[in-house]
């Protein structure tokens, strides 16, 4: 019988710990256990046979750390070959009468994913793929990905398995005492991610005992439609007489697991500290498992948490989107990711649940930019993303790199659209927004739109996409063009909910296109749509009208206990208050702007500058207000009367004033003083110093090409040449990464000899800088600015 079939109707018993048993047989501390497959096969076979003899259905190969990071290609192949052979031998030798299977065991790579660590996602996929290919070649029955403490690395491993075999994939994560993965994911978020990827079963192992993992197991059981597995440690470790013991005995272990089997657990085994004795009592009981219960919740996730549709209206921030935004388009063309991140953070602070992301512009490389935007947003924000693009290549690349289960924007009733989008959702998971239009356009009746929705549902089914993973957008059209259009949308919205049992979403503000004072009509339309059952809205969270409507609706609909949320937040959206402050700022004088910059009042500097722009020319403000203020602070810093935090706060205030200037100036007319390329060198992940230099250089009118951290020498050279930058700034914090700096300088000398190089960072000194061939050592950010002024003079 194959494993998949067996799992449908049976409780499955996995093996237990391997490491502690190997140590008992003489494995030395520091020795790699995977090598024992080759050098001590009889020991491995004996342990695995004991597990089969004890009635376990699945034994995992001794390949936890068998990957290309730890072993060369030849040795890896030999290890996996022997490991599979050992498990097969154990299976044949065992006299157990139960169904028996061999799983390819895959553990984490021991490196952290970018951007917090240095493991590249695609590199991780390739490394896992290598092990999977070998396991499959030598004949395992299933894949067991286990002890993963990072959602992103888990995704890389699952993709590798999916792309290189058709075997069942079991995935088990290591949760901490706080019930989350080390990188922050809740069990619910992991269910969303893993079911999206189509795994066979999912669960938890290691780190804790069965008691401490009970909460995690229950959360998994509450949300998972696929079988749930649990492989706890034999309790918590304690050291007695210099030896490690675990505090849960075999019988107690079995009882804890048995209780969870009564709640739906279908696959169980042990991890660290467990032996064949553990759950022997359980296998003797021959537990029957409960039938699987498919869950119907519509859920998306980020690296940290899941967002469920249907309970409360879900707010999706619409601002990351170039349509009609000159400044945003400019940022995209310049590749200014900080601007995009800032839009994301501001919306998150305004209280949205998801962020909409669209970076489509004709003049840019959309697949590249969309993927970059997704990666950068998910690095600093924990909100799930709604990824919007019409380009299937861009969609595939973004979905692949997305750390969670995304909201996919969008599919529609056209054959071509469904053919392009559904396979991506099938492979990477996701909830899809489905627009109710097709080859013949947007129907002008509710019936027509519901019929398209039904067609999309039926087609999705043929791709194995369940209706819970579709959200319908019945399309808000501008009411100024057709005064019945809002009514049609509202009716379609209600009928999709009632007749098809599906959730709905709207780009609410489309309704007011072409009308004055759009907020007024948007807010009312939003309220009407919510009343008809709207599940999610794409909106501007900085619109007081929309947020007032949302807060009021929740309070009125019994969704806000004691109106607590309303009371806490409504004050932020009082229209009269914002009007008043803006007026007050409009009358304030010029010197106030200088003062705000010197004192580092960021928001105030921005709003004062905006007010000033009504009467003063942009470049005049720069000359007479911003530059004098920066000079005061810069000179203070050099004279040691102003310290680093103050310098930076002023620089940030100046930056927010510059933002207003940029908005007022026609594109490309901001005269740059020259281009500087900045990077933290290869191998170094400390970039605070480089970021400080960047901020200051920008303040002083230089264009900065920021290559980020851990940047290989070739990339620096490439950028210096591509941007014809006369100056490159390199930063390194550690002694160990200074050689990478030297290497970068050497390569620059060779490939871009006219380029000057300024270096800085904690371990550097003037002498050191001279020795590695830099043109200048800068002690701090102001010195870099002064040197840049010299170079560009």
């Amino acid at each position: 019988m194959n494993f998949q079939t067996y799992l449908q109707n049976h409780f499955v018993c996995l093996d237990g710990g391997m490491g502690t048993l190997l140590q008992a047989r003489g494995l030395q501390s520091g020795e790699l256990p995977e090598r024992w497959n080759v050098t001590h096969p009889e020991e491995i076979i004996a342990i695995q046979q004991a597990y089969f003899d004890a009635g376990r259905n699945v034994v995992a190969t001794n390949t936890f750390g068998a990957n290309a990071l730890k072993f060369g290609a030849e040795e890896l192949e030999r290890i996996v070959m022997c490991a599979v052979a050992n498990a097969r031998t154990a299976m044949q030798k065992s006299n157990g009468t139960q169904e028996k299977f061999v799983a390819l065991d895959i553990g984490p790579l021991g490196k952290l994913s970018k951007p917090l660590g240095d493991l590249d996602f695609e590199d991780a996929v390739s490394i896992f793929a290598e092990t999977v290919r070998l396991g499959v070649r030598f004949g395992v029955d299933l894949i067991l990905i286990e002890t993963m403490n990072d959602a992103y690395e888990t995704k890389a491993a699952v993709l590798a398995a999916k792309e290189h075999c058709d075997l069942p994939i079991l995935v088990s994560n290591a949760y901490g005492a706080d019930g989350k993965l080390m990188t922050g994911a809740t069990p619910h978020a992991m269910v969303a991610l893993l079911e999206g990827l189509g795994v066979t079963a999912l669960g938890a192992n290691c780190s804790l005992g069965p008691k401490q993992l009970r909460g995690v197991a229950e959360e998994l059981l509450a949300h998972a439609s696929v079988p749930v597995l649990l492989k706890p440690n034999a309790g918590l470790p304690c050291v007695k007489d210099g030896c490690t013991h675990f505090d849960v005995a075999p019988d107690e272990f079995s009882e804890e697991l048995y209780a969870l089997i009564q709640k739906g657990l279908r696959i169980a085994g042990g991890c660290c500290g467990t032996t064949p004795e553990y759950i022997r009592a359980l296998t003797a009981k021959q537990p029957e498992c409960l039938p699987l219960t498919p869950k119907t919740e519509t859920v998306v996730s980020s690296y940290s948490h899941a967002v469920t549709f249907g309970d409360e209206p879900v707010l999706i921030g619409e601002r990351i989107n170039p349509t009609g935004k000159k400044r945003f388009r400019q940022a995209l063309v310049e590749g200014d990711m900080d601007y995009i991140l800032n839009e994301g953070v501001r919306q998150a602070d305004a209280g949205v649940h998801l962020l909409y992301v669209n970076v489509g512009l004709p003049e840019i490389d959309e697949p590249q930019l969309l993927t970059q935007a997704v990666c950068e947003l998910q690095a600093v924000l924990n909100l799930p993303l709604q990824i919007d693009t019409a380009d299937p290549v861009a969609m595939e690349r973004a979905l692949r790199r997305y750390n969670g289960k995304a909201l996919v924007n969008s599919v529609n009733g056209k054959e071509e659209s469904m053919r392009a989008v559904f396979p991506l959702v099938q492979k990477y998971g996701g909830v899809v927004i489905a627009l109710t239009l097709d080859e013949s356009g947007i129907p002008d009746t509710a019936e027509g739109r519901v019929a398209i929705a039904q067609k999309i549902l039926d087609t999705a089914k043929t791709y194995g996409i369940d209706k819970k993973n579709l959200i319908f957008d019945p399309l808000a059209m501008t009411v100024s063009a057709d005064n019945r259009s809002a009514l049609v949308t509202l009716e379609a919205l209600e009928r999709i909910g009632r007749e098809l049992g599906c959730y709905t979403s709207l780009g609410v503000s489309n309704v007011s296109f072409g009308l004055p004072n759009r907020d007024a009509i948007n807010g009312t339309f939003f309220a009407l749509a919510l009343e008809r059952g709207l599940s999610a809205a794409i909106l501007n969270p900085h619109s007081a009208e929309m947020m007032r409507t949302y807060l009021s609706f929740c309070a009125l609909h019994g969704l806000d206990e004691n109106c607590a949320h309303y009371v806490e937040h409504i004050g932020n959206y009082t229209l009269t208050a914002t009007d008043a402050t803006q007026k007050a700022e409009a009358v304030s004088g010029a010197s106030d702007l200088q003062h705000a910059i010197i004192k580092g009042f960021c928001e105030r500097a921005g709003s004062l500058c905006k007010a000033l722009l009504e009467t003063v020319a942009p470049l005049e403000i720069v000359q007479n207000e911003i530059i004098p203020a920066l000079n005061t602070v810069g000179q203070g810093f050099e004279a040691k009367t102003v310290y680093l935090p103050q310098l930076l706060m002023s620089a940030e205030a100046a930056k927010s004033a510059f933002e207003q200037i940029k908005l007022a100036l026609p594109q490309d007319s901001g005269a740059s003083r020259g281009t500087v390329v900045l990077a933290t060198v290869h191998g170094d992940i400390h970039d605070i110093g480089k970021n400080i230099v960047k901020l200051l250089l920008e303040n002083y009118g230089f264009t900065v090409i920021d290559l980020g951290r851990d940047v290989p020498p070739e990339q620096v050279v490439e950028a210096a040449i591509a941007h014809q930058a006369p100056l490159v700034g390199l930063s390194a914090l550690m002694t160990t990464t200074v050689p990478a700096m030297e290497e970068t300088i050497l390569l620059l000398r060779k490939e871009a000899p006219s380029c000057r190089v300024v270096v800085g960072g904690a371990v550097l000194t003037r002498e050191y800088a001279d020795r590695i061939g830099a043109d200048r050592y800068a002690r701090d950010a102001m010195e870099t600015v002064r040197y840049a002024e010299e170079v560009f003079a």
């Binding site: 952290l112 917090l116 660590g117 080390m182 990188t183 922050g184 470790p237 992940i685 970021n691």
Partner: protein, 216 residues
């Protein structure tokens, strides 16, 4: 297996934080920034530490800790006259790294302050751990010594990681340049001796002689 040590830390030492942030005199705005950042930082911290108390035998420049050896003249000197040695790893977790990454892009002033808060917290944590273990053993702790100090190569990180099982126990990772993530983490060795070291300034061992905060 090494025991964990996860105590409640004393309140933030704001003077130290400002020192790490390079700020000799703080005005109202800086103090506001500090208090704002400390709230955010302290919520993000998920600290944990583990340690092992080991026998110690020094022969020439080689320190033998039973489970492993390290050869370093400076380490041997730092551990001379000690009865035992302690190896430990401590971390503030990934949450703080994430915040620093975020504000590094959006507000370097905040990133600087968070960085400084992290430095103060991890130092305080390590100090507390030294006190705890030395009290457990009824001995006095020497100053901490980490891979990369003096002639102890950074590659000794690998040894400490293996001995303490840092990946598995604390979720620490080493990158290709042997830097740790989470970045606000420390691995170190200290000695336990019968008499306390005479109090000496932390600065006297530091090679950064142009530091504006350098003490006598």
């Amino acid at each position: 297996m090494s025991p964990f040590y996860d105590p409640v830390l004393p309140p933030l030492d704001e003077g130290e934080v400002l020192r790490y942030a390079g700020c000799k005199e703080a005005d109202r705005a800086v103090l506001d920034l500090l208090s704002d950042c400390s709230q955010e930082a302290l919520e993000a911290v998920q600290k944990n530490a583990c340690y092992l108390t080991l026998p110690l035998e020094i022969t020439g420049d080689t320190c033998n800790f039973g489970l492993f050896n390290l050869t370093s003249r400076d380490l041997a000197k730092a551990l001379s006259d000690c009865e035992k040695a302690v190896v430990f790893a401590a971390t503030l977790g990934l949450g703080l790294d994430r915040l620093i990454l975020k504000y590094g892009r959006l507000s370097p002033a905040r990133a600087l302050m968070l960085q400084a808060i992290g430095a103060e917290r991890i130092e305080t944590y390590c100090d507390l751990l030294s006190l705890h273990v030395s009290a457990e053993e009824g001995l006095f702790a020497t100053r901490r010594f980490s891979p990369g100090y003096g002639d102890l190569p950074l590659s000794a990180q690998k040894t400490l990681f293996a001995v303490l099982q840092c990946e598995k126990r604390l979720g620490l990772c080493l990158n290709d340049s042997l830097l740790m993530t989470p970045t606000k983490s420390v691995t170190a060795i200290f000695g336990l001796k019968k008499a306390p070291d005479c109090r000496e300034s932390k600065c006297s061992h530091c090679t950064k002689t142009d530091c504006s905060f350098r003490g006598a």
